[in-house]
């Protein structure tokens, strides 16, 4: 399996936050979701891939090319969608498109217009008049119009109503039908990722917690719930975080099979959702 993106030992330090030794790969032909609570470093990773900010250390390779040495080649194949599309307000969609088109060798004007049609947008509309959801669709249309091999999005569904979210995810699924295309998007809305992602990379406080297939994660992580104080956190194999109140214990485990075997029938062991994982890893206790 070729990798669309390879990240190795990436580091970026800010005053109060740092990305520390981030390493993961994005396989080509799939959708990878980058999840983590706000401030975990998702946007930083994406900006580093696009070289909008400078890395302190590490390597980033896109399509096998170093993203600094081959910046133009790499960017010509990426469709980048910011969380809040930034265009001069008073311009029409068609004007913006015609200003950006010359930069992309594979730009197809016909495809762009067809996409606008599909997204129910008009090239004569002024950007100012679009709702947030429509702006996102426009940004996606721009990204798709130049036949990008990689779509990179930072929190694309934040601030969108459920209908738009659904449509956006649909478009991504259609995009990924071509197995040479890859999608990487960051989100803290775990339900969207559960629906469309093939791989999940979880980042927390600037570190990678895991990067693996979504199904594998959802099948092996679980939440143990015990109500009578019969189970202590230390008893739970693969413990990754827990929450204990006077009468109950809720714990996240990365090995639900082992937990079920060890704890038997008195405790409930349910599959964990991405939301559970995110919650317990970021807010749960880790030591008794």
């Amino acid at each position: 399996m070729d990798n669309a993106i390879e990240i190795l030992g990436l580091r970026k330090a800010y005053k109060r936050f740092a990305l520390d030794d981030v390493t993961f790969n994005v396989p080509q032909g799939y959708v990878m979701g980058l999840i983590g609570p706000n401030g975990a470093g998702k946007t930083t990773v994406i900006k580093l891939i696009m070289n909008l900010i400078r890395r302190n250390a590490g390597e980033v390779r896109v399509f096998g090319l170093d993203n600094l040495r081959h910046e133009r080649e790499v960017k010509a194949r990426i469709g980048f969608v910011y969380d809040v599309p930034r265009f001069p307000e008073d311009l029409r969609l068609g004007q913006i498109a015609s200003a950006l088109a010359p930069f992309y060798p594979k730009w197809d004007g016909g495809r762009f217009l067809a996409l606008l049609d599909e997204f129910e947008l008009s090239s004569r509309t002024v950007i100012k008049k679009l709702s947030h959801g429509m702006k996102m669709k426009f940004a996606l249309a721009l990204a798709l119009a130049h036949d990008a091999d990689l779509i990179l999005m930072d929190e694309p569904t934040a601030g969108l109503d459920p209908v738009f979210r659904f449509e956006l995810l649909e478009k991504l699924r259609a995009f990924i039908q071509d197995e040479r295309k890859t999608v990487l998007f960051s989100s803290h809305i775990t339900s969207d990722l559960e629906r469309v992602a093939d791989f999940i990379t979880f980042i927390h406080k600037g570190r990678i917690v895991f990067s693996a297939g979504k199904d594998a994660i959802l099948e092996s992580w679980g939440v143990v719930r015990a109500s009578d104080g019969s189970v202590r956190p230390d008893d739970i194999p693969g413990l990754r975080g827990y929450k204990q109140s006077e009468f109950s214990l809720e714990a996240l485990t990365s090995d639900i099979a082992a937990a079920r075997k060890r704890l038997g029938g008195s405790t409930a062991c349910d599959k964990a959702s991405l939301e559970d994982i995110m919650f317990f890893v970021s807010r749960g206790e880790t030591h008794a």
């Binding site: 799939y30 990924i176 039908q177 199904d215």
Partner: protein, 125 residues
């Protein structure tokens, strides 16, 4: 090919797919040589991950239910009549094992179980 996925089922999704495909092949809803949707198309239709459909198809191929041709897609494999009968038997055997386990857990004896079986077989047309 009609597949229904339930998120609330305890079975992993790829298993739900393999089970339904196997059933359709065994019941001849899907016949030898019939094409299956591509793993990506199926993933899109069912709104699940491509990796899941890929795994399901790999399982089905391993067990000899389908063949995948590079560049062409997946098709229902030629089913050896004997093998098919064996697979059918296995399917029912699995279900019966489940019933036996349940009966033992609940303390229902063999004689009672046999009676139940006869009754049900007669009742259900």
């Amino acid at each position: 090919m009609k597949i229904v996925i339930s998120n609330s089922s305890p079975d992993p999704i790829y298993e739900q797919i393999t089970r339904q495909v196997k059933a359709q092949i065994i019941s001849a809803d899907l016949r030898e040589g019939d094409p299956l949707p591509s793993i990506r198309k199926l993933a899109q239709d069912l709104q699940i991950s491509v990796i899941t459909t890929k795994r399901a198809y790999e399982e089905l191929e391993k067990e000899g239910f389908i063949d995948t041709v590079e560049g062409k897609g997946s098709f229902v494999a030629m089913q050896n009549k004997e093998l098919l009968r064996e697979k059918k038997m296995k399917l029912v055997e699995d279900k019966l094992s489940g019933a036996v386990d349940e009966a033992k857990l609940l303390g229902i004896g063999l004689a009672e179980l046999k009676e139940m079986l006869v009754l049900l077989y007669k009742e259900r047309g």
